[in-house]
């Protein structure tokens, strides 16, 4: 299958290793990955912060970039949630019939990484090896907007050598929330400290998830507090094999 990678703006700039891992996993499964350099950002930050017009321009840019893609894969649940929940209404508000048609048709072809593997490609064992104790933080968007359910956990359970430890209060927000983390820093930090406490309780070596946005937040505190617990994207674990990490 030809899979078009939407890396997302922040993964492109800050987490290229996540993108390389997605490419490694999909190619290992025998698929072809393409990257359209015209891609930029889904517009979520602008939309959620109230900058609707800017978000609408970014939505148009996304749809124009991917309208003829067969399948789009995105390693960020919150960006996929933005596309699924709000693109149709943003397109409708434009009154542009062609944009509305393209958006409606495209939205159903955009998959979050774990959805793509489990639902579209029907794989739960990607042949990964990662001999570590890991806990899973499912983002609020993955949980409540995409309803990913146990897809990420299914994928992790099939990783050889990996011990998956359950996180307490896993459905509670880590306090990131985009600009919320800066605008309401004290409340965000209070939420974060509860989440960090739960992560430390698991005794895991690493905390993984499908959203590097939450992981920046968690990792920022885990590092500041010298916990020694690392954060890494689900794709990076799935890309690891006995012969090492192909992305490094």
């Amino acid at each position: 299958m030809l899979i078009s990678l939407f890396i997302t703006c922040y993964n492109d700039a800050m987490f290229p290793q996540t993108g390389r891992a997605v490419v490694a996993v999909l190619e290992r499964l025998g698929h072809t990955v393409e990257f359209r350099p015209a891609q930029t950002c889904c517009g979520q930050m602008h939309f959620n912060s109230g900058y609707r017009k800017d978000a609408a321009s970014l939505m148009r840019h996304f749809v124009e970039t991917y309208h003829d893609a067969e399948v789009v894969c995105c390693p960020s649940s919150s960006c996929v949630a933005m596309i699924r929940e709000y693109y149709p209404e943003l397109a409708a508000a434009s009154g542009d019939a062609e944009l509305i048609r393209r958006t409606e048709s495209l939205v159903s072809r955009v998959y979050e990484f774990s959805e793509l593997l489990v639902d579209k490609l029907k794989v739960t064992d990607v042949g990964a090896f990662y001999p570590h104790t890991v806990t899973l933080h499912t983002s609020c968007h993955a949980l409540r907007a995409l309803h990913v359910g146990d897809r990420p956990a299914q994928l992790l359970r099939n990783v050889r050598g990996l011990t998956l430890v359950e996180l307490a209060n896993a459905d509670r927000c880590c306090g990131f929330g985009g600009t919320f983390a800066v605008k309401n820093a004290d409340v965000s930090a209070a939420m974060l400290s509860e989440k960090v406490h739960c992560i430390l309780e698991t005794q895991a070596e690493a905390c993984t998830g499908g959203d590097n946005s939450c992981l920046i937040h968690l990792g920022g505190a885990l590092n500041r507090q010298r916990t020694g617990v690392k954060t890494l994207h689900l794709a990076e674990i799935l890309a690891s094999t006995e012969s090492g990490d192909p992305t490094s």
């Binding site: 890396i7 703006c9 993964n11 492109d12 700039a13 800050m14 987490f15 290229p16 290793q17 993108g19 390389r20 990257f35 350099p37 015209a38 930029t40 950002c41 930050m45 602008h46 939309f47 959620n48 912060s49 109230g50 900058y51 609707r52 800017d54 321009s57 970014l58 840019h61 609020c140 968007h141 949980l143 409540r144 459905d171 509670r172 927000c173 306090g175 990131f176 929330g177 985009g178 600009t179 919320f180 983390a181 800066v182 605008k183 309401n184 820093a185 004290d186 409340v187 965000s188 930090a189 209070a190 939420m191 974060l192 920046i216 937040h217 990792g219 920022g220 505190a221 590092n223 500041r224």
Partner: protein, 476 residues
Amino acid sequence: MSVRVGQAAQAPDFPKAARELVANSQMRHNVRHATDVIQAKRGRVVAEMPDWEQLRTSAKAIKDHTLRHLDSYLEQFEESCTRAGGKVHWARDADEANRIIVDLIRSYGQDEVIKVKTMTSDETQLNVALEAEGITPYETDLADLIVQLGEDKPSHIVVPALHRNRLEIREIFLKKMNLESLGYQPEDLTTAARTYLREKFLRVTVGLSGANYAVAETGTVCVVESEGNGRMCISLPEVLISLVGIEKVIPRMQDLEVFLQLLPRSATGERMNPYNSLWTGVSPGDGPKAFHVVLLDNGRTKVLADEAARETLDCIRCGACLNTCPVYRQTGGHAYGSIYAGPIGAILSPQLQGMEHSRSLPFASSLCGACYEVCPVKINIPRILIHLRSKIVESGGAPLLERLAMKSAAFAMADDGRLGAAHALARLGQLPFLHDGMLKDLPGPLSAWSSFRDLVPLPAESFREWWSKREKGERS
């Protein structure tokens, strides 16, 4: 018109109020404990309902239908209530409602009133207005009594004194009820409240209630509660006044079937409220001899006019969104600067009172969606929060630095050439803040990030640069 939603003329800045509250360990402990207990109970009684989702869908449909025809249902309610011997008064705003109630109490020659289950009267600051006119209000709902005696503010829609623990309540009772001694057990506290309140119930001849529902076809008003103090308030006095927000009307008695299942399970985790009181007008020889309903707008028609946010008025005040909210969990209700706290307060208060009153409230959410998930009438609170944020931004209400940052980001994201340049610029700009492989002590508003967390820096090569090199490598 002067619309008010509680004590403050202007809500405090949420982040500032929250900063003080998150440092209050007693309050945080109380809120965490109480919301955990209620949430666990709610979870159990919701899980045992096979048709919970259908009930939510029905409730939503009834509310949406009612709001679309609110004008005719309100008139129908007035007709039915009047036919049954009640009198309906219309109040455009808080001041008008308070004036009507003061005049009614005066017209019966009274200077005391017993109150129950009327958050709407907190919205209009009725007690302040009553006291200014020499009328003494007595709160009779146990939690409201604790708040009133403690000269405190309610912090939760259903459990107004949720931020207080047993020892704090004992202190308040001991001092304000002029008791010589008082035990520490819940029974001791409820006995003290009972003795204090019984005397009021038997003496005061005017009662004031709120309403959970007002049934248009019969003119019936419904109040649900746990203590029975409400039952006293609506049945013992000579005169009963009910202050009712116009969104409380429902078309038919039969619709209560849906709401009386949803509300107790969502609010307190009970299968049924211990007391469900319904009354229709006046019944000679039974209960109050005179019954008045004050129908209050106070900004509600303004909410109704905004199609994107109208469903805010569907709210049945169950408080489930507060109990599940990770933000409320940390701050309690007082950070919201309004009688309506938590996620529903963050969308309701700014709409009722105007954005300028509480501009920071729509941003007091991480948009995690937990509120929407538990809402018994399926109010999409995150969507409305975003809608209100865009109204604030479009009216020029966002801080200048933020606007500049958002505009710059939108400019950089417009095409991939600009994006590449922005990456290069950011890599250069981050250098002064790079320590031991992490960004620390960031400048300006970003310091709010780095005071609590480190930040990973941009690596030397973006994904697109890696891809471009790989493609060239593959081709050569």
